[in-house]
């Protein structure tokens, strides 16, 4: 066997055998990996929409803008709010947050930080409940704001983490950006049609400013 044939056979055999093994293993592992990801998503939706028992996935594309939101439904099948992911740059990398929004589009129901690479001990405290819980019932109009070293005064304010303003700012900024996108792509009227029976009259009068 000359060298060329040997090289050719070597690479082909090893490549094909590896490919087959990986294909088989992928078929075995992939469902489990999907289940894990779904579980993580599901848990975070139920954290930001505490009343939800199940959720519906809503997808919509406007132009190039594709957006997925999750509508939480309670035990009686009534919508309780929507959840969506807010991604954006933090201090050291992406900060991904699951955001829960009331159906009246006025207040946040809660947030959960899913991915972050912020500084341990300082910025990564954005994923602690003490910080996340501040966002419960925070008003989104005109937008969410943070203040430093003081207790929040207005209903749309939270207190930034001391020594981690950039990380706190990233969370607030990502939430505002994501909320703005959701308001644009899934306008309130449309969501109310989906959730007939959630007293549309009272919600109608409080149209959020855009």
């Amino acid at each position: 066997m000359n060298t060329f044939t040997k090289m050719f056979l070597n690479l082909t055999v090893v490549g094909v055998v590896s490919g087959v093994i990986l294909a088989v293993a992928f078929n075995g592992f992939d469902p489990l990996i999907r289940i894990n990801k779904e579980k993580e998503l599901k848990e975070s939706i139920f954290v930001v929409l505490p009343e939800a028992k199940d959720y519906k996935v809503l997808e919509k594309t406007i132009g190039k803008d594709k957006l997925t939101i999750y509508e939480g439904i309670d035990a009686a099948g009534q919508p309780v709010g929507i959840a969506f992911k807010a991604d954006g740059g933090g201090f050291q990398g992406n900060v991904g947050i699951m955001v829960g929004l009331n159906l009246d589009y006025l207040k946040l129901k809660g947030i959960k930080v899913l991915d972050q690479l912020e500084t341990p001990g300082l910025g990564n405290r954005i994923s602690e409940p003490a910080f996340e819980d501040q966002f419960k019932n925070i008003e989104i109009t005109p937008k969410v704001e943070y203040i430093k070293n003081r207790k929040p005064e207005k209903p749309n304010q939270i207190q930034a983490i001391t020594g981690a303003t950039i990380s706190s700012d990233a969370v607030v900024k990502n939430i505002n950006n994501a909320v703005a996108r959701v308001l644009k792509i899934f306008p309130k009227q449309e969501m109310l049609k989906l959730g007939e029976g959630t007293s549309p009259a009272s919600a109608e009068s409080k149209e959020p400013k855009k």
């Binding site: 090289m7 090893v14 990986l22 990996i33 993580e40 341990p120």
Partner: protein, 208 residues
Amino acid sequence: MADNTPTLWHEFQKGLWQDIPPFRLVLGTCPTLAVTNSVINGVAMGLATLFVLLCSNLIVSALRKYVAPQVRIALYVVIIALFVTLADMFLAAMFPPISKALGPYVPLIVVNCIILGRAEGFAQKNPVAPSFMDALGIGIGFTLSLAVMGAIREILGFGSIVNIKLLGDWFEPWIVMILPAGAFLVFGGLVALVNYISHRKTAAGTNP
């Protein structure tokens, strides 16, 4: 078999001290620095590397008579990548939190020089049994190194070990220890310590 056993034992134990990868060979330093901010992360990384090292050493050693030398590195990389991908999928499927904590460092085992180094430097010249022992020794040595690094950094940086609170509230965590700078400090300290001990050993051996 009787005269074979000490050799196999030698292949195994050399990875534990004499050739302990990060501190004596200074190989595989990237994961050593990157994922050792806690014991669990360090041990998981070490075990994933051990698995890849064992499998690739076995295959490389078994195939050593059939490999064309011109393409051997390409072959080794494909073989290593196969086992790394398997380890990565396994962690993502079975231990999602660990997989998340280790992030891109599991796929990066492909370019870990310990593994290619053992394939090229040992497995391609030796039969299957010594190659297996070699991989086992080096892999366990690597895992222990990462565990020690992780333990030191976790105790100083979080005041805990394996997530169990070790030091009381009086302890102010040294945040620097869980940051990259802490990795370099601990790594430098351990290399110095290991060298100091082996120098004293050698000195004691030559001047009885």
